[in-house]
């Protein structure tokens, strides 16, 4: 499973302040720590960044690439900032991921950018009609996004379908629907579609002491359904061990006594 490290997020106070003050050090430290812990991509979330989005994303991408040779998952709702991030990205280490498009018209330009620059793109199965009711609903939305992707010249292998993980504390019945959608997404194309989740949303609103437990077990279930990418905290060793163990049990990696140390 491909790990997208989630730590550089505007939601975290330390990161938000560093972004505002253009203080590179705390952001670079998080990038290095996540890369060393096994992240394949580094997510850089700057939020809407309405005032100076393009400049901020350009700066953030460049300072991360000063310290890690990993592609970046560009996380913003600001289209101009997204384009600036794509342009600043050093593709020698892999293509960036545009995070994200959806079936909402205001998010279509993100998909268009992915087509224009040949990047990967997270496609959230969220439509204009509110939250999807079940796995079938998610598939309908996914198909519409895929069709639009073809119009914009996005190869199917560049689309990462996101089944939209919802809070278990308030919408318990959705957890299995999202899991089931992952398996169904794969069948929408040959070769199978890639999938991604923002995992921690499952435990949003739950007390802190149960959050990591819910996250970890849910990740195991999603990998079993065929999940290919996850936006998670790679510094959470239990989480990384869970992913490695499930993949090993599934025969995706070869067992050795020290498999967790790999």
């Amino acid at each position: 499973m491909i790990v997208i490290g989630e730590k550089i997020s505007v939601m975290a106070k330390k990161v938000r302040e560093a972004l505002m003050n253009r203080d590179a050090k705390p952001i670079q430290d998080l990038a290095v720590a996540q890369a060393n812990a096994g992240a394949h991509y580094i997510d850089v979330s700057i939020g809407p960044a309405e005032d100076d989005g393009p400049q901020l994303m350009d700066w953030a991408v460049k300072i991360v690439h000063e310290v890690v040779q990993k592609p970046i998952c560009l996380d913003t709702t600001n289209v101009k900032a997204m384009e600036a991030g794509i342009k600043a990205h050093n593709n020698a280490w892999g293509l960036p991921i545009v995070n994200s498009t959806s079936n909402e018209p205001e998010r279509f330009p993100m998909l268009e950018l992915a087509g224009k620059y040949g990047t990967k793109v997270v496609a959230l199965t969220l439509g204009k009609g509110g939250l999807p009711a079940d796995a079938e609903d998610r598939c309908v939305i996914a198909s519409e996004i895929m069709a639009r992707g073809m119009e914009f010249g996005v190869p199917m292998e560049n689309i990462l379908l996101d089944p939209l993980i919802l809070q278990i504390a308030t919408m318990q019945n959705q957890a299995l629907q999202s899991a089931r959608a992952i398996r169904m997404f794969k069948d929408l194309n040959d070769p199978p579609m890639s999938t991604v989740v923002g995992l921690s949303n499952i435990s949003n609103g739950a007390p802190k002491h149960v959050r990591h437990i819910i996250n970890r077990y849910y990740l195991a279930m999603l990998i079993m359904e065929g999940l290919t990418h996850a936006i998670i905290d790679p510094l959470d060793k239990d989480m990384m061990d869970t992913a490695k163990t499930v993949e090993m049990i599934m025969g995706k990696t070869m067992y050795a006594h020290s498999y967790l140390e790999m």
Binding site: T253, M254, Y255, A256, H257, S258, E261, M262
Partner: protein
């Protein structure tokens, strides 16, 4: 509608490992697809065929193979030169005389022979212990130091003694053969352990433990298949080292390479049969992805090289 041949795509690749020095250095590995599927990947290097030499006279070798090296076999240096003249890509010096049940030669004596052989040939030298876990640590340590600068291939390191041998190989800038007993998981584990002690995994050659045709060869074959699948399809960095098959020592121990014509007339001539037994064993290992073979009979080695040339053609 035109027929489209389905192709597998591979995410991994076998490391290139260079053995020896100078113009006769040999590079093995580099495959980017399952063995010889040239329409799916590239095979930049042909498998190397090493001929075996022992530090003491090969008295326990069967007549057929002894005869093929006779005249040279009484002296390891002469014998190594004979192998080089007979088309070997490398010489594998097995220090069998150091085994306590053989002549129990000292590490110093063995190292001296290794250095002499290394100096006498241009092609790469492989230095093998006697297979005695404790004695090999001393012998291979001394041999590694005595051949410093020759980029030799030294082994075999096993789970019980890898630390000392790997340290000596690392300190003297050689390559290492890491052997596990017909077990992919233990093979991977040994490579992880070596990496964790700071040994560069791109200097390791894996020995999955060989056998002879008719005597469990299919187990080796399966293990090698599994190693290559993990290396290429699962992109497992610990399985991407080249593989060596030490077959001569197994082949020239079985009845088919020893039984006289009169004893089993229906088996045909011993001479042809024995040579074919080693060549056919080699061919199976080649098709399973072996990057290097250690063989005994120069005639069987020549046949194997013909096959390799055809496969690479």
């Amino acid at each position: 509608m035109a027929l489209v041949i389905p192709k597998e795509s591979y995410s991994g690749k076998i490391y290139n490992v260079t053995l020896g020095t100078g113009a006769k250095a040999v590079t093995i590995g580099g495959a980017s697809a399952l063995p010889y599927l040239a329409f799916e990947g590239t095979f930049p290097n042909k498998p190397a065929v090493a001929l075996e030499v022992t530090d003491i006279a090969p008295d326990d070798w069967p007549e057929t193979v002894k005869k093929a090296v006779s005249g040279a076999a009484s002296n390891p240096v002469q014998w190594a030169k004979f192998c080089q003249q007979n088309g070997a890509d490398a010489v594998a010096l097995r220090l069998i005389g150091t085994h306590p049940d053989q002549q129990n030669k000292s590490a110093e004596e063995a190292a001296k022979i290794a250095a002499e052989v290394a100096a006498a040939i241009d092609i790469p030298l492989i230095i093998l212990g006697s297979g005695h876990v404790e004695k090999d640590t001393q012998v291979l340590q001394a041999a590694a130091a005595a051949t410093r600068g020759k980029n030799c291939t030294i082994g075999k390191a096993v789970e019980e003694n890898y630390k000392t041998i790997a340290a000596a190989v690392m300190a003297n800038d050689h390559k290492l053969i890491a052997m596990s007993q017909l077990d992919v998981n233990l093979a991977k584990q040994l490579n992880i352990l070596l990496s964790q002690m700071g040994f560069d995994k791109e200097r390791i050659i894996m020995d999955p433990m060989s056998s002879a045709l008719g005597y469990g060869l299919e187990y080796t074959y399966s293990v090698m298949e599994r190693i290559r699948q993990a290396a290429l399809l699962q992109n497992d960095p610990m399985m991407q080292t080249p593989v060596v098959c030490d077959i001569g020592a197994n082949v020239w121990k079985v009845k088919e390479t020893m039984a006289a014509d009169a004893e089993v007339p229906e088996w045909g001539s011993l001479e042809d049969r024995a040579l074919a037994w080693e060549a056919v064993t080699a061919s199976a290992m080649i098709t399973a992805g072996a990057d290097m073979l250690i063989m005994r009979h120069p005639g069987a080695a020549a046949k194997t090289k013909e096959l390799i040339a055809e496969l690479m053609g």
